[in-house]
Amino acid sequence: MVKWIREYRIEVTGLVVMATFLITMVYGIDILEQWRNQTEGLSAWSADLRNLSTLFLSIFFEGIPFILMGVFVSGIIHVFTGGDVIGRLIPKNRILAVFPAAFLGLLLPVCECGVIPVARRLIQKGLPSYVAFTFLLAVPVINPITIFSTYIAFGNQWEMVVQRTLVAAIIAVVMGLLCSFFLKGNVLKDKESPSSCDCEDSRDHPHPAHTKGRLRHALYHSLFEFVDMGKYFVAGALLAASFQTFIGLAAIREFAQNEWLAVLVMMLLAFGMSLCSSADAFVAASFRTALSTPPLLAFLVFGPIMDLKNLLMMSAHFQTKVILFFVAGTTLLTLLSVGFFYLI
């Protein structure tokens, strides 16, 4: 019996899971409804809690389709193409190399969480670090999924999409060029620290050769990327919902009196919230009633390239001087480019 179960464990688990799921679908709703009617007391306990729950779930429901899309695409690309394809496409000339790198995201859509291990891998494979940095900065914004979600979030307008993409491209290219002049030598940490996103290490687990196995493997990759990115996303959604419930957008309006202060506050928010670039547009859109375009743009441009969770992930791979250079450079460039919007 035990042996039989062990032999067919996949099929058995599959059956059990499907059966549970079907039963939950059919009977679960009623039972849960009853149970929820009883627990109504918990949210009656505090209106804030109920509002927090509503806001948190609404951000979650809205962002999760885009995160999954990103995860599926990047999981498949991770396994089927590999980093060397990109390496071959990049020209040797410094300036010629940086520009296409800024738009690579259109071909290789990975979210900001997925892009750091990819960039690290590219550097390990001998790609100049400044090209990898441009890629790292541009991809989270300039990729089809982010563009699409920004378009949806801002009520099907192209205006914000174009501004966001342009500013991000400019920052990425300028940062890339700056890196090529000022950052010499090794940028990676010498010892390979164990990280949460080692999916690029093929020595970690061999990628199967045949197509069916590769597809399965790609999907399994996606599952883990989903878990990895999902946790940061949920944390961000919780933070954002708490902010809205306990402090409120109306408070931001106070800052909106002073535009520059608003820009700084929004950059700080973007940094702290650490939203995934494919979902942050929806949060930014929620500030639309309180703020003018430049602070929103600062939020949308700064968030994907520099935030708490990215910084954590980067500091696991890159040397401290690189991180400091990154923080200072992107902050200044965001301020400069947003300031430019005031002039026109």
Binding site: R9, I10, T13, G14, V17, F21, T24, M25, I29, L32, W35, R36, T39, L42, S43, R50, N51, S53, T54, L55, F56, L57, S58, F60, F61, E62, I64, P65, L68, M69, F72, G155, N156, Q157, S196, C197, D198, D204, H205, Y220, H221, S222, V227, D228, G230, K231, V234, A235, L238, Q244, T245, G248, L249, A250, A251, R253, F282, A285, S286, T289
Partner: protein
């Protein structure tokens, strides 16, 4: 253990998504036009869950801490332990009122893409004369993306059509699906609608920055999700002595006027009559519905 948690996360969230879609609770969180995305997501999650089933025995590709899994379970915990509902009035002061100036209202029109405009105009113009609708259709046809980002003639036509319809109504009502469009129209065509009778339903909200007896008959306007909802509505003046609590749902009828506030001119009505009504299941009005 991790494998089982991943299974619960995938199938659990998929179940949650299907559940809110089936019960219609989705509209408490998201604009209903995003429903297809939610269904696709549920399918994708079930695929991921199925992949996990096939890999039960394999070791995980990388380590995820307990905190990670707990965070991913948070949506499920929140949904069941703190059952969400429509935002209540306590959020209104935190959200703040969306004071749409006529200029901003005009900007909001960009929301309309070509398809929406033509289908919606077709729908709206059924009551109007044939000549009108023919004109409009001719002008909407060659709309392109660039034209949509400028105040094109075609978007103005959309609102002219609404104001035309509003003027023909004996008593202006804003309706549920047409709420935001009609409210914007009122602000844009102040001259033409002043003095008309209006009937409006909403919850009582006392904004901080208006005189004491000024009440906003409010709704939450949702663009995409509850996080971006803001308060919209029409001002009215109800004697303090009536002591209506914030959040009470009322229906107010009166003559439409406009009043000057520090944010601009806004629709205002002095009620000839009002009465309490039951709160609707869905407190939101949706953009682009």
């Amino acid at each position: 253990m991790g494998a089982i948690l991943r299974l619960i996360i995938c199938f659990g969230i998929a179940f949650l998504l299907l559940h809110i879609t089936l019960t219609g609770e989705l509209s408490l969180f998201l604009n209903p036009r995003l429903q297809p995305l939610i269904l696709i997501t549920a399918v994708l999650l079930m695929i991921l869950g199925w992949v996990q089933v096939g890999n039960m025995g394999h070791r995980p590709l990388h380590r995820t801490g307990v905190t990670g899994y707990l965070l991913l379970l948070a949506p499920l915990l929140f949904y069941f332990l703190a059952p969400p509902s429509g935002l209540d009035v306590s959020m209104a002061s935190k959200k703040g009122v969306q004071y749409l100036s006529p200029q901003a209202a005009r900007n909001e029109q960009f929301v309309l893409n070509k398809e929406d405009t033509s289908t919606r105009i077709k729908g709206e113009s059924q009551e109007s004369t044939q000549d009108d609708s023919k004109d409009i259709r001719e002008e909407t046809a060659p709309a392109s993306e660039e034209e949509n980002t400028e105040t094109g003639p075609e978007s103005n036509n959309y609102y002219e059509q609404i104001v035309h319809d509003l003027k023909k109504m004996p008593v202006i009502t804003l309706g549920e699906k047409t709420y935001l469009d009609r409210l914007n129209t009122l602000q844009m065509y102040e001259q033409e609608v002043t003095g008309k009778e209006i009937k409006i339903k909403g919850f009582i909200f006392y904004p901080n920055d208006t005189p004491d007896d000024m009440v906003l008959i409010s709704r939450y306007a949702m663009t995409c999700c509850a996080a971006d909802a803001s308060v919209v509505g029409i001002f009215t003046r109800i004697p303090k002595s009536d002591q209506l609590k914030e959040g009470t749902w009322v229906e107010v009828q009166g003559v439409l006027e406009f009043m000057e506030t520090e944010h601009g001119r806004f629709p205002f009505t002095k009620p000839t009559q009002y009465h309490k009504v039951d709160a609707p299941k869905d407190p939101y009005v949706y953009a682009n519905y």
